[in-house]
Symmetry: C2
Subunit: 269 residues, 2 copies
């Protein structure tokens, strides 16, 4: 029987950090079914009391990021009374920063979601990326910090959106068989252009799935034929080589990992 | 003089969790300039050694998520030799889960980026959301789990993308002055429809900024005129009331906070 790991994530903010920590922790265990329960915006005793029943119904570990001392204390006592493991994992880090910088923490919830310059930079990057998805609006593409190039379905779009969430203006240009590269790609020297590639087998699989999603017949088309797809990829590789673009194989990589590889290329430029 | 908090985030995976934790910690301090340095995909001694110089050039706190014992030990020793604060904050959480579930951690890096069902669900949600942005493809909108409705520039698109990153198929429909609501919004009973609203002052400001970004004259248009915008919002509120849609004021809320509020509405349905 597979064991089950139930984690209750209780946050006075959006719960984003907790979700990320919970998933990273759970990923260290094989054969453990993972169930996360997220309770965001818990900022009062009343909010907190509503969570108690849900924890008791389905006991598990409590991870929390609650900066208010009183509410955090209440939750700690509730867990201790009910013999539930409780971990306010940010406390150590905040204490370390206090010691290191000789500054006191403010204990205001949700501070990382301030509508500050960095936030607006991210939203602006997202707007830019959506407007420059899939070869759109090339007249304003010179504003891009990173341009991804690749044949259809090599995860250009989700990778760009992930980069945009980090405040980076990313655009992407599809490589279409028998079509010339747009001019700005061959003349520009100062933009970081990265090529994405995958194996023909993988691409055929992804494209077939995609065709079915769109209600098309996946067998009918050069788009999913292994021979034409192999040629399409070979041609793309030749172009990438000729242009000297760094190339990332996305075959067994998640979007997050592809983005991390792109950021490494960028840091080394 | 503003003090500066330098954090080095060293990850054997994408660094996403670390970035989130670092930002949440830094947000607890006012009057501290924050500088984060992310080193993703550190999976060998050679990778790690390249990071040393960068830390020594610009000393600060080291937060890390490295599961390999040998590499993690090396980094710990480096920090101790150089009197740099070091915190592998996932260790406590992983130990807690080991104790709780009587299961051993696998210590494989990057486990949370497996190309599993959940991953593909997220990518599928992102595709769906992009295809159903801003009122597109309404013939397939019945696949949406959440539909956001609002006048132009109330953060419908970035909120939908944020929800999609959590695996939720979210679509959004613009409310256009003098135009009827699309049929499926008035007849559907089983979709969660949430309305976004903001103040006229805020909307005018956001739209003016947007017009400038697009190279337009922000003064020329009903789109940014306070009187017409006020009427537009009043009309929208009347519709939301009449339809009984839960409404979120996004005025001083980040996209993450709006999404958290939507998830709370969804949990209570």
């Amino acid at each position: 029987m597979t064991k089950k790991l139930v984690i209750h994530l209780i946050s006075d903010s959006t719960g984003e950090t907790l979700r990320s920590v919970g998933a990273a922790a759970a990923a260290q265990f094989e054969n453990l079914a993972y169930e996360e329960n997220v309770y965001p915006l818990i900022r009062s005793k009343k909010n907190l009391e509503r969570v108690y029943d849900k924890i008791l119904e389905n006991p598990g570990i409590v991870l929390c990021t609650i900066v208010d001392d009183e509410i955090s204390k209440m939750l700690e006592e509730f867990c201790s009374r009910n013999k539930i493991s409780y971990m306010p994992f940010m406390n150590n880090i905040v204490s370390l920063i206090e010691t290191e910088t000789k500054t006191k923490a403010t204990k205001k919830p949700g501070g990382q979601h301030q509508l500050n310059d960095e936030y607006f930079k991210r939203i602006e990057a997202l707007n830019f990326t959506l407007e420059h998805d899939d070869g759109q609006n090339t007249d304003t593409i010179s504003g891009a910090e990173i341009i991804l190039v690749g044949v259809s379905r090599t995860s250009k779009t989700p990778t760009c959106i992930y980069l945009a969430n980090q405040g980076i203006k990313a655009a992407n240009i599809p490589l279409v068989p028998e079509q010339e590269l747009p001019n700005f790609l061959t003349t520009s020297n100062d933009m970081l252009i990265v090529a994405l590639i995958t194996t023909p087998q993988n691409l055929v699989e992804v494209r077939k799935k995609r065709a079915i999603e769109l209600g098309l017949d996946p067998k009918k088309d050069d788009y999913t034929n292994i021979n034409t797809v192999t040629k399409e990829i070979d041609d793309a590789k030749r172009i990438f080589n000729k242009m000297g673009w760094p190339t990332i194989d996305t075959t067994r990589r998640s979007v997050e990992e592809t983005a991390a590889a792109i950021m490494n290329i960028r840091a080394q430029k």
